[in-house]
Symmetry: C2
Subunit: 416 residues, 2 copies
Amino acid sequence: MDETIISAPGKVILHGEHAVVYGKTAVASSLNLRCFVRALPSEDGCINLDLPDVFLQRQWTVKSVQDNLLPRLVQNGYDGIVSPEPASEDELEILKEFAKIPKDSTATTSELAVIAFLYLYCKVFCSSSKRTLPAFRLRMISELPVGAGLGSSAAFSVCLAAVLLQWSGQISCKSPQHLPREDYRGDTAMSGSLGWSRDEQLLINKWAFLGEKIIHGQPSGIDNSISTLGGAISFQNKIIETVQKMPKLRILLTNTKVPRSTKLLVAGVRKRHEKHTLVMEHMLEAIEGIAQQSLRVFAALSDKPYDTEAYAELEELIDINQSLLNGTGVGHTSLDKIVALTARYNLHTKLTGAGGGGCTYTLIKPGADEDDIKNVKKELELEGFQCWETCVGSAGVAYHPTGHSDPTVPQQLFES
Amino acid sequence: MDETIISAPGKVILHGEHAVVYGKTAVASSLNLRCFVRALPSEDGCINLDLPDVFLQRQWTVKSVQDNLLPRLVQNGYDGIVSPEPASEDELEILKEFAKIPKDSTATTSELAVIAFLYLYCKVFCSSSKRTLPAFRLRMISELPVGAGLGSSAAFSVCLAAVLLQWSGQISCKSPQHLPREDYRGDTAMSGSLGWSRDEQLLINKWAFLGEKIIHGQPSGIDNSISTLGGAISFQNKIIETVQKMPKLRILLTNTKVPRSTKLLVAGVRKRHEKHTLVMEHMLEAIEGIAQQSLRVFAALSDKPYDTEAYAELEELIDINQSLLNGTGVGHTSLDKIVALTARYNLHTKLTGAGGGGCTYTLIKPGADEDDIKNVKKELELEGFQCWETCVGSAGVAYHPTGHSDPTVPQQLFES
């Protein structure tokens, strides 16, 4: 077991949010804001979990896990190979108890992350032939804002699963390579995770989903799939399909920082749908058409990455969908402001996710005026929004073998 | 022939603009901003046309019309009863020549209004048994902005036709009555024109359409129909149907004063429709659904004028349609500004007409806070917009027998 640095991307919904609830297609893509995890063998017999982004640090001795937790989670001793199964209610109670999380209170996201960590730690090692639990330090640094609908918890679960599977010898990185962080300025379309075979990726994804399930309750599986595999997926009636040809697209991601309740927004759309069924059905069908058309344009752009007409079409689809989402009642003045502000620079923006605040993405065409991008970003930040220049359609989970000298890895990963 | 004061309303499209081009239903309604015409017999043997709103004043002797124009327009002398037929190209040339409008230049709207006046003057009198052309002064004062898509020219044509038919004895006002200008604050649903029988109304409408044809080229017949009949109509595939139950609705009408070309806007929608046919068809179907639903809500409101739920539904339909119109590409930052500004007062606004600027209407519910209305109007005017507090669904062409003491008649009608 060597020091291991792994990263996994977040996700954005490009088209089809809300419509997906009514059986229409959603298209989601990896977002090259990444979660980084560094795992380091430790001599002190302890497991150290360090999540500075959420101000969380926990420590257990391997002995206490081995004596007090493992026997209750893996009943047949260490004899049987454990397979990836969702944590049962009983197991969750056991984990909560071990992690000293009050039984009757609702656990916070970071407490649930602790539980997911402990669950994966025990189960992944017991699913391998190498069933000795190791002592180690694990530190996570994430570029993704938490709770903004960008898949930060899935990215964490994916990193965690990849680290644990790698350490337990169930997967092994065959072609370790840099993840060129800045390559979104280039035209290389990158998708697929870096370093593992397809089967290994699917194993990472399977375990990551179990972690996601603990943190999120009823995840769709979209977030962890995208974070593992990279690129884009289409999703309809719970069936996830990989988008075969996804270009890497440069975007400006903006967080309104307006808190919103996905549940309430979905309920609002439901109410409007019940009241104006016919009208809303046509609007949802229009959104379906936009999602399908975006997939066709993505495929075309994969072959001709600089096709200005294809970009113009993507911009038009963004505009139309943003209007339709407004029409379903999930708009917000903060979103209108971003749309209007970017429009002054001839940039096209739509909300991503639940709406009613939350995040937007603005498409940046190849050859865009860099001063414009700088200025629009500055203006948005002056309005109190948070912006990231990043890209979608980038690589999934990635192994960083030369972590310390790798400029794409945040240096905070090596602090403390 | 006595002094005659007649008024006729403008129109707004409530739902279905642009979609109507694709065979969907448009719902249009009378707008209680009115065109007023005062006709006064004169002793000087002259016909005096006075349109101060467009800075136009013209005068002809009855003799010159009788000698130089009439014989060329009504070939059979005065023998046959003239029936309402559109002016031929030849007749238009004759009228232009008589009115001294340069032959090869494009006539302005006010020049075309002069031609329409002369045409109706000659033809209406020759269609009656009373075929003597009278000397008179005719003055028009309009509350409607010109060229804003609010049917100002149709309202003028309707007033003109009503005056001329009344003077030539072809219609006669049976129950002259006040048009209570302020009654939009009450709940009386008023539709149908005031003072004439249905057949008389249809005769006014027929002649008014001919005037409108001269001014507008290829009018749909919507504007003059609404101006004559009041209330609302639905319009699909060139078939006009009267909306049987139309409530009077209080609105705030706002003119962005942003000039727009209806032709270019329609062409833009056409282009988007060609490019994204499926998506656009669903959006147009959604607009069709909104138009149909608005008709159902109007009928319900006619029976229960204070139904808050019905008003909430109208507001929702306004919001959805405004979003859809944005999605078809006919939005404008000025429109967004009005929508956002009124939304801060919980008021709901959509564009009316071609979009890309032009006018909006904002629904005002019964029991709305009058201070709010005052403030929102003030804010809009500070932004440089022009506002009118008025109503839709009001009476059509109306006769004002007690003009001078009638507070609803603008006093400028009696000046000069």
